[in-house]
């Protein structure tokens, strides 16, 4: 897959305040999650790749063209920022069509694109109301509409789900998935890790201005060697099962659940462990209710890499 966005040694300082330091990466089509603590450099990163600010060192290339002062490129990028900054006196329709005019479409196209975008975000009924009267969720949807109305190939979303109720979130997630199928490149930045997990497995973690991790969540988890993997097994006889596992070297620690129906195992070698587990289960004909890996999720990966 060819990279759509490429950065090389991208760095940015604001005076002596660090924004981003030495970031070289490639982003491919599909959905990529961008996460990191507050002040880590995520907004700086997004501003740099959309050409809003100039890097102190390094460069950004999109579709193999440089980003700065390349107006034509912007018609292929859609950006949905985190904070609202609307002209409150406009109606939703006027707002959207003005932005489309800036893109240079003909008036017939503007109409049809605006209608389609508003239809997708379900704001068609409210398009002639003043933005001042919009609720939080409606503003969020309007922002999203302006990001997709010109059919960009790259869509950058900063906290797109905030302010939406659970149904709205679901619809937006589905929509983003269809973009993935269409081969677009979507970058979603969010603090709510379960929401990123619902969208993608591929993430970029920024902390202290650097990229701490990039790639598939599960793959990254495997790479974090200092934290052994945890496997939780619920069954009717956890101690019996534990006894069967004790002998092997890949079992580092065992911890019994407070309710007496589960055991948490720490292992440094998942392959050996799971093979072992399966054979013991089948041999002993034990009743197993559940097998899960509690720390194979994004929150755990985040904690291990960033946490204190």
């Amino acid at each position: 897959m060819t990279a759509v966005i490429e950065t090389s040694q991208l760095s940015k300082w604001y005076g002596n305040v660090l924004g981003l330091s030495d970031v070289s990466l490639e982003i491919e089509p599909g959905v990529t999650g961008l996460l990191g603590p507050n002040g880590a450099g995520k907004s700086t990163f997004l501003k740099l790749i959309t050409g809003q600010i100039k890097p102190s060192i390094g460069a950004v290339r999109i579709f193999n063209q440089r980003v700065r002062k390349n107006q034509a490129l912007f018609s292929r990028i859609g950006f949905c920022p985190e904070h609202d900054s609307f002209y409150e006196e406009m109606t939703g329709w006027v707002f959207l069509t003005s932005l489309l005019k800036l893109q240079g479409f003909s008036s017939v196209e503007i109409r049809s694109r605006a209608e389609k975008a508003l239809d997708i975000v379900e704001l068609s009924a409210d398009k002639d109301r003043l933005i001042r009267a919009y609720s939080r969720g409606m503003r969020q949807r309007l922002k999203f509409a302006q990001a997709i109305a010109h059919d960009p190939e790259i869509i950058i979303l900063d906290e797109p789900l905030s302010g939406l109720d659970p149904l709205g979130k679901r619809k937006l997630i589905r929509l983003i998935r269809t973009y993935r199928e269409e081969g677009k490149t979507v970058i979603v930045s969010s603090h709510v890790l379960p929401e990123i997990e619902a969208l993608t497995r591929s993430i970029i973690l920024i902390h202290q201005g650097k990229v701490f991790a990039k790639g598939d969540i599960h793959y990254i988890r495997d790479l974090i060697e200092t934290h052994p993997h945890m496997v939780s097994i619920r069954c009717s006889d956890p101690r019996g099962l534990a006894g069967l596992l004790l002998g092997e070297g890949c079992v580092l620690k065992l911890h019994f659940g407070a309710d007496g129906r589960s055991v948490l195992v720490e292992t440094n070698d998942r392959d050996r462990f799971f093979a072992l587990l399966l054979s013991r289960i089948v041999q002993s004909r034990m009743d197993i209710e559940e097998i899960t890996s509690p720390d194979d999720n994004l929150q755990a990966v985040f904690d291990y890499l960033v946490g204190k």
């Binding site: 996460l35 990191g36 603590p37 507050n38 609720s135 939080r136 969720g137 905030s162 302010g163 939406l164 109720d165 659970p166 149904l167 709205g168 979130k169 679901r170 603090h191 709510v192 890790l193 379960p194 929401e195 497995r201 998942r270 392959d271 799971f274 093979a275 587990l277 399966l278 054979s279 289960i281 089948v282 004909r285 034990m286 009743d287 197993i288 209710e289 559940e290 097998i291 899960t292 890996s293 929150q299 985040f302 904690d303 960033v306 946490g307």
Partner: protein, 303 residues
């Protein structure tokens, strides 16, 4: 019984916000959910003693919701969604001020403010001016002023919004700790369903001014005995065909998770035997249940 209301009606002018809600809340952490405009805020205003319903009655913490509103507010802690602080003060002054306003004597409020600030994790920064606080710290401060007077009912409005992942985790841990105590009822309104799932044992779902669902999460979510989520490592095809041979229906989701619909009479142990014989490892094995998200969608009736 912390709160009991029956047949509440309320309209703002011609807009009917609440259309006959009756519910009773017992101890524990309860999640309040609903689409925007469902009547959540109105219900909360009534429960907190700000608004009197036009029809219907109720009691919160034993006090009547029409006649004894200030007394309800004395024993309720509210953590608002928006940022709120008073400039020029430090955290201790801020927290003890609100403790005093709730009816604590001056010295007691001061003492309790220190305790509570340590509890929420602001111990080190409690003498700093509030203007210097980060978003996560402001959120904790809001929680501190809500619990300083040891309320019996704690209401949290979007407690994790605008927090980074660490902040979210820490606030959720604090909320879990508080709700594990008896004698304090926690009501959380949030749009972030995973947070509600991790903290609450019961949910109330509102829609269009009516009660759409209420009950313990574990009961509402309906364990589906016949559907298992399985993830294996190894040659999947052999395993899948074995499952099908055993009479199950198998679907694969995007995350390479297998959803296996198992016939009722099948012995679960056969699944493990099949896996071993096909030289696969079983890495994830969970009895599937409706997620809160599915429950919400089903109950609110859209989709």
């Amino acid at each position: 019984m912390i709160a009991e209301i029956s047949d509440l009606h309320f309209s703002y002018g011609r807009i009917k916000a609440l259309d006959g809600i009756s519910l009773s809340l017992a101890e524990g952490a309860i999640g309040l959910l609903g689409p925007n405009g469902a009547g959540k805020s109105t219900l909360l205003r009534i429960l907190l003693g700000f608004l009197a319903p036009q029809r219907g009655q109720g009691r919160v913490l034993g006090f009547d919701i029409r006649l004894e509103q200030p007394r309800i507010r004395r024993h309720v802690g509210y953590m608002p969604e928006d940022d709120c602080l008073i400039p020029g003060m430090d955290a201790v002054t801020f927290t003890s001020h609100f403790g005093e306003l709730s009816g604590m004597p001056r010295q007691e409020a001061m003492k309790r403010a220190h305790d509570v600030l340590f509890y929420v994790g602001l111990g080190e920064s409690r003498y700093r001016l509030l203007e210097t606080y980060s978003a996560g710290m402001k959120q904790r401060l809001k929680l501190a002023q809500a619990i300083v007077h040891d309320p019996k009912l704690l209401f949290l409005d979007e407690p994790t919004s605008n927090l980074d992942p660490q902040g979210r985790k820490e606030i959720l841990e604090l909320i879990q700790d508080i709700s594990s105590k008896k004698d304090i009822q926690v009501l959380i309104s949030s749009h972030i369903l995973p947070d509600i799932e991790s903290v609450c044992s019961e949910v109330v779902i509102l829609n269009k001014g009516r009660l759409a669902a209420q009950g313990k999460l574990s009961e509402l979510r309906e364990l589906n005995y016949l559907l298992y989520e399985i993830r294996i490592k190894g040659e999947g095809d052999g395993f899948v065909s074995r499952m099908r041979a055993l009479g199950s229906r198998v679907e694969e989701t995007e995350d390479r998770l297998l959803r296996v619909y198992v016939p009722a009479e099948l012995d679960i142990r056969e699944i493990f035997r099949a896996a071993e014989e096909e030289k696969c490892q079983v890495r994830h094995f969970v009895r599937s249940q409706t997620s809160l998200e599915d429950l919400f969608a089903r109950v609110v009736g859209v989709d």
